[in-house]
Structure formats: C-alpha cells, structure tokens
Amino acid sequence: MTEHLAAKRVTAPAGTPAISVRNLHLSFGARVLLEDASFDVHRGQIVVLLGGSGSGKSSLMKTIIGLHRPTGGDVLIDGESLFQADAAGKVRLQRKLGVMYQGGALFGSLNVLANVRFPLDRFTQLTLEQKNLAVRMLLHELEMDGTETLMPAELSGGMLKRVGIARAMALGCDILLLDEPSAGLDPVTAADLDRTILALRSEFAVTFLIVSHDLQSIFAIADRAIMLDGHARGVIADGVPAFLRDQSSDARVHRFFNRQPDSLRASGER
C-alpha cells in the first residue's frame, strides 16, 4: 500500500540568483551612498560584503531586506522584484530571507526556545510539540543544546549570534543575511561560528550574504567578496578573496586585504 504525501512545488528556474542587486541607487537626503551597484548572489554561495566605515554596507543590507526603499534600481529575490511587488508579495519575498542582526536582536522577554520558535508560531500551522522538536533539532545543529530555557540576557555574545542564526533559519529560510557575525567575538568563538556557517551551507544548502570586516573569517569562509567604497559610491571589487588580496590592481582593495594603513595613500601609491 502506498500513500502519496505531496507538497506543492514552487521553485525558481535553476540558475536564478538567490539575491540580485540591479543598478541600485541609494541616498539619504543629499547624501548619496551608492550610485550604481549591481551584483548577484547565487544559490549555495557564501558572499561577503565588505568595505570601510560609511561605505554603505549596512544600508545596502537593509535595502536588500526591504527596510529601506532605494532611490533607483531594484533588488530581486529568486528572480522576483522586491520593490515592484505589492505589499503581500513583498512580505512573501522578505520571508525567504533570514536575518541575523549584529547583537542577535533576540526578544529579551522570551527564552531561547520561544525566540527561535517565534516565526514558527506566527507563520505556520504546526502543533506546539512539532515546533518544539524542530527548534530543538535546529539548536542542536547550531551546538546550542541545553540552552532552551535560558533568557537572552544570560547568553554570551557568541551564543546570542547562534540563537540569532537559529531564529533566522527557523522558517526554513535558505538565504541568510548576517550582519557582522564575528564582531565582538574572541578568535576561537569566531572560528567556531565560521565552522557553523560552512556546515549550514553544506548540510542545509543555505546561501549566505555576510557583512564582515574580519579578514581571517573572510578568507576562511567566503567564496566571493564584494567590496564597496564610500568615495566610489559603489562596488569596486568582486571576486575570490585570496585572488583580490594577491592579484588586485586596485590600491584600495589591496590595502584592505593586506591590512595596510590608509597613510600609504599619502606616499604616492595611488
């Protein structure tokens, strides 16, 4: 006897980028942050967005999430436009993205289990038992067993970020945006988190777009690095991190990847 239990198939055509930023123009009042930024993030990639302070990384990330409206251009999620969609369509697209904010942004009044379960409570018809099982397995994957009943205030920085990732993933999001995952972590914890990111990519086929400054982490995990520059107001480099470090002819990129101070600019390198 065979019972068919089929879920509907909704997949974007193969090869469609998970995130596609098209000719993005971003400004706040008179201040122009990005003039014509374009890049794609393909499925299964770990892409790092980097650049100096004020280069517009965080604003770009918030635009991709749909929190800022760009002054020009568009963002496509799985081939669908985020900013031309109606309100319901925009929410549907946003729900494909999981976001981990710098400090985890966990809800302080909920414990770890309830924090990770929150999106499941809101958007699924699962029973409490089913949700709890899914959350516990997810926490296990992130090596956070036994923390279910702890409150966010009782967690360390690295744990906060892990729970933040778990919450971002809870709804089955396979595109994760991480804002400075290694900021404020000791080297060992940061390396652990890198390992987790790689594991999630290989086991759950998660696509990552990561804002980061941490060179060690970038070289360890990133398939691609996209570098923004505040003066150029756009993307100045896009490629494999090690290649950019060793081969880039752009002085700004070279300096960034080799951790050289900006004062070299004065010594006529440019």
Binding site: M1, E3, H4, L5, A7, F123, R136, A153
Partner: protein, 359 residues
C-alpha cells in the same frame, strides 16, 4: 484488502515550515493507524527539505513501534540522511516545557509558600538595613545628606499629586456620607466620619499608594539598572556596602517623608470635607467644633505612625526588588512592577494589622 505487508509513504516536493503541517499530520495518522506494519518512507521524490521537514522525518522514525514494524526512511539525499543519522530516537524524548499541570490546591500551596518566603526574605533585608544603620555611625553625615536629596525628590516633588488626591478623597467621602446622613437629619455627624476616616486611615493610605507608585517603582528601577550595569559590583570593589550606601538613605528618607506628606493629605482632605459640607448647610465653625470633639490627637498620631511604617515598607520593597533584579532590560521593568504591587499589598496588610491592634 491489501496483501502487501508494508506501508509506503511517498513524500514529494518541498517540505518546509509552510508546507509541512498537513503532510506531517497525515503521515503520523498513517503510521499510528498501522501499528503492526513496517512503514517505508520513500523520500526519492523530495525536492527540498528544510529544518522543519527534517524535524518531521525524525519525528516519524523516532516513534516506538512493535518489533518488525519499524519506520524507515529510504532514498533520502545523502547529506540529509547524514544529519538524520546523528539523532537517536531517544533525543528530545523529554521534550516539552518541563511543566506538569498543577491542581488548584497545589497552586495555592506553592503561591503561599512563595509569598511566605518573600516576606521572610524582606524581613531579613530590613534587619540587614538596621544593622547597617548602626554600623555606619561614622559615615552618618553622608548618609543623611543622601537621604535629604532623596527626600527632596520623593517628597517635595510629590506634594502636588498628594494634595490633589487628598483633597478629592475628602470631598468624595464627605459627599457620600452626606447623602446618606441627610436622609436621617444627621449631617453634622458626617464631620465625625470624615475626620476619623481621613486622619486614621485614608490620609496615610492614599499617600502611601501614591508614593509606592511614584517612588517605590523609581527605587526599584534605579537600583535595578545600577545592578544591570554592574555599578553595584563597582561599589562592592571599593569596599562599599550597597545596603549602607544606596538603601539606607532611601529608607531613612521615606520614613520621614511619607508622614510629612500624610500631614498635608490629612489637611487638604479635611478642607475638601468642609467645602462639601458647606453645601449641606454645615458652617465652617460647626465643622471645626464638631471635629475637635470627634477626633483626638491620638488619631492623627496613629495615622502618622502608620505612614512611617508604610514609608519603610515602600522603600524596603523597592530597594529589595531593585537589588534582586535579574539580567537584562526587561528585568528592570519587572522589578519596578513587582515593587509597586508588593508594596501596595503589604501596605494594605499592615493597615489591617493596625486596625485590629488599635480597635
């Protein structure tokens, strides 16, 4: 009747948090509905499984079944199968919140135990404060100077609200009693009622409630955020006792300030009574003479002694909750709420004791 001994569940498509619920439910029903048959879960046509789908697969295979009636997942993508293999059926078996439902009696019992424990803790805290008071003789000047600052903030700034509440309270009581007394031609005795109620009970009580909401909550929030910001730890590393340095001035200030505010509330309460009774044709002079005959100095004193006790309670509860604050921003809010609720409840209880003792 199907002769095939095994049941096959063929899963298709994308199983995600959104699509899983009906499939999960149907699969469980099938598995539970055939307790004696082996079940094959055919995953060959699955396109994608997210964490919820994975939890579903695990939930299907972890069930306890009769021997020979195992649930088995076939043809799962190797990486997913690898994840699933890391779990054994016993994992998360004690899942759930760990709460067991309590009967009414047990709930009442536990709540009573908690409250009794809290009272004992609070008494211990007050005792520690008293010890600190005697220990801090040499530093008394600074303690009293701090107390004065706190008294200004908690006292002088509370005067308008205490005046307003006290006045309205006198007006309301006089009006309510007057309505009834007029039917019996006994309006003049309303003066006795108002005088006794305001001086013995309500002046102190209403002042205490106002101060509990205003200052008790503030104490809890101040000390709570100091604790959250590790300021208390910083004090301790200087060898300063938080009780002596932060709590004692607040206790002293409140023991003085609440009776003072009560005097004001008593006064304006009686003024409110006079105003209302004038509309009932009781003159000011009649009111005055009747009042002097009706209340004694001991009534006023009783009110003030109560007020001092209320002040002590409010400060002790507020500071105790502040020092007991947990971690995080929400904990400060919880402490402030608990401080107000606990102190108002305790004030009413203490009032009850006074009523019994002085009757």
């Amino acid at each position: 009747m199907d002769t095939d001994a095994s049941l096959t569940l063929r899963l298709e498509g994308r199983i995600t948090a959104q699509t899983a619920p009906p499939i999960w439910k149907a699969a469980i029903e099938q598995i539970e509905g055939h307790p004696l048959r082996p079940v094959l879960v055919d995953a060959s046509r699955l396109e994608f499984v997210d964490n919820v789908g994975l939890a579903m697969l695990f939930d299907l295979i972890r069930r306890e079944r009769a021997p020979g009636a195992k649930v088995e997942v076939r043809a799962l993508a190797p990486d997913l199968a690898a994840i699933l293999q890391r779990y054994v059926p016993g994992d998360f078996a004690v899942a759930g919140s760990g709460l067991h439902s309590m009967g009414l009696l047990e709930q009442v019992g536990r709540a009573t135990e908690r409250q009794a424990g809290y009272l004992v803790e609070l008494l211990g805290f007050v005792a520690a404060c008293a010890r600190a008071l005697f220990r801090s003789q040499e530093r008394q000047v600074s303690t009293w100077r701090d107390a004065l600052d706190i008294a200004t903030e908690a006292g002088a700034n509370a005067v308008p609200i205490v005046l307003l509440i006290g006045f309205l309270m006198g007006v309301i009581i006089a009006f309510e009693l007057g309505q009834v007394a007029r039917q019996f031609g006994a309006v003049i005795f309303v003066v006795d009622g108002v005088g006794s109620a305001v001086l013995r009970e309500l002046g102190a009580l209403m002042t205490a409630v106002v101060v509990a909401g205003r200052t008790g909550a503030a104490f809890a929030a101040q000390l709570g955020s100091q604790k959250v910001n590790e300021e208390l730890d910083a004090l301790a590393t200087f060898g300063l006792d938080p009780i002596e340095f932060l709590v004692l001035p607040r206790l002293l200030a409140m023991v003085v300030v609440v009776p003072l505010l009560t005097v004001l509330a008593d006064f304006v309460g009686l003024c409110g009574g006079v105003l209302v009774l004038m509309t009932f044709d009781v003159t000011y002079l009649q009111f005055y003479t009747e009042l002097l005959g009706a209340v004694k100095a001991s009534d006023l004193l009783l009110g003030l002694v109560k007020a001092a006790c209320y002040g002590l309670t409010i400060a002790a509860v507020g500071c105790h909750q502040g020092l007991a604050t947990g971690a995080g921003a929400t904990a400060v809010g919880q402490s402030a709420t608990r401080a107000v609720v606990s102190s108002i409840v305790l004030i009413i209880v203490i009032d009850g004791f006074f009523a019994v003792l002085t009757s």
